[in-house]
Symmetry: C2
């Protein structure tokens, strides 16, 4: 396998919203990018996407030598992976299509090169079944837009080699991503499971006439959504407990887990689960006190609201 | 009822994290605030909370004449509501306690003054049963911290007069809040239902060893959480559909509603639900094109990340 820092060319297979977003990200980080997509208008759409992203990427700061000219759109898959030190697959979410495409990519990609899939929720175990060398296939799940949202979830399948999971995690960090390396496959990984629960509850509310689309968006943008870029759902509730933190929160609001506040049944709040959540929050928070976290949250919420207001003005 | 602009004194009943946050908000907006809480250490805790909030509120800009000296902590409920033009109740989430407390507040509050409850999820119909004049009782549900998060959800109970729902909505807007006025009672209202679905999925994941507390927070803060202050879950997915918007998104990703990506069962994606979500997104987005929304989102995400990084540095 190549050292992550020696990779200078990345292949992006599939160039829709997610694949195109990866193209923009790798270009901005100074890579040569070779992209392939079977859609007839793919090159034009990809060009528009990269052009739309470029001002944001320029404002963030381009890597030395970064250029939109470093993009080559190829007419075959085999040309795309030629000379690539890493391959990112971002095809539509269709299991049979992914199984075949990953096998095709594997067949033409040089040995020792890691191939990652952007899949939103399939496990690599079910996707790698048709490949000759399944051990180099791994999930690297980004968020839209991949050129701005740092998160990538990395998880292997049963046949993925441990070094591949480690290499992909290191490579993504090297290109500026925030990586969660998962020990085991969970359908939907972590962020999409959380996001999907919220999305499904929202769809139920619209279906039942309980809220409009716009009320749902306002409920998040003017409400809990303002806290989530700075403190996730766990630390958020750590602070909802006041000076007593998550322990007080769970002991005080625990009974509301039985309330019909969503269609999702809550788990039993066993002493083990309570203690795991409390300990997790205290570990994550340390060495910051509750007062530190409150001050940090308050500074962030004010700055976030200003940032959003300015972004909306254009 | 008083004109909302003539109110100069607000009573806050209950002075924990939420009640204290309301105290800080009303003080910063230039109101005289009278607070009562039966806890023996309530005054000291409230003082610390207001002091901790004041730098943020000062940075946001205090209303003319705003002062921490405008706070009076009273030793009885009756003294707290004396001369108040609005009452905000923020007692612990306990239905029997809320029923009795709202009846007690109602008994001593001058006629024509609206009394709002901060309840996180009870309906006013079930809370107003013991009150003499239930028509002036309404839910005004804030988010923590109430002095920074703009959202307030306003909804009446069966016995609440329509003018009270309208008056409370107008008053909250007058004091700088973003208001969602709901037509009907839904347990957990809107934002908490969405947040609670996410929270319950997170607890299930911890309980099953699928993710740690810190991975859950990172999944949100480095992932979808960065989009939610600028575009809620609906507009977010409107953009995930690329140039085709929500229509393409639902037609393309609709099948993933059947995927086991959360423990919450999805609703049936009927043509009616699909069309309602698509039309809602298009209404909310107008007159902005998809390209406008992408540019707005990108500017916002960059600014949000900078804001958070700066807030974390202190």
């Amino acid at each position: 396998m190549p050292e992550v820092s020696t990779v200078d060319t990345v292949a992006c297979v599939g160039a829709g919203v997610i694949g195109g977003g990866w193209v923009a990200h790798f270009l901005a980080r100074g890579y040569r990018v070779r992209a392939w997509d079977p859609a007839p208008d793919a090159a034009a759409k990809l060009g528009r996407l990269v052009d739309a992203a470029w001002p944001a990427l320029t404002s963030l700061g381009l890597a030395e030598g970064a250029s939109r000219e470093a993009l080559t759109v190829t007419s075959t898959l085999a040309e795309a992976v030629e000379g690539a030190g890493f391959v990112q697959e971002s095809a539509p979410e269709d299991l049979a299509l992914k199984q075949k495409l990953l096998a095709d990519i594997d067949a033409v990609t040089p040995a020792g090169v890691v191939v990652a899939s952007s899949t939103s929720g399939y496990g690599m175990t079910e996707m790698q079944v048709a490949a000759q060398t399944p051990e180099r296939l791994v999930v690297g799940h980004p968020f839209n837009p991949p050129y701005l949202i740092p998160l990538v979830e990395v998880v292997g399948g049963e046949l993925t080699a441990p070094w591949v999971v480690a290499w992909a995690s290191e490579f993504y960090r090297h290109v500026g991503k925030t990586v969660i390396t998962m020990d085991a496959e969970v359908p939907g990984f972590i962020a999409n499971r959380l996001q999907e629960a919220l999305w499904r509850e929202a769809l139920h509310m619209v279906a039942h006439g309980e809220a409009t689309v716009e009320q749902i968006d306002t409920a998040i943008t003017a409400g809990p959504g303002l806290r989530w870029p700075v403190q996730g759902p766990m630390l958020t509730f750590h602070l909802a407990g006041g000076e007593g933190g998550m322990a007080h929160m769970l002991d005080h609001f625990g009974p509301s887990l039985k309330a019909p506040w969503t269609r999702l049944e809550a788990p039993e709040l066993t002493p083990e689960l309570r203690d795991a959540v409390v300990a997790g929050c205290e570990d994550e928070a340390a060495p910051r006190t509750i007062a530190d976290l409150v001050a940090e949250r308050d500074r962030a919420i004010i700055a976030i609201q200003r940032a959003v207001a300015e972004a909306r003005r254009g």
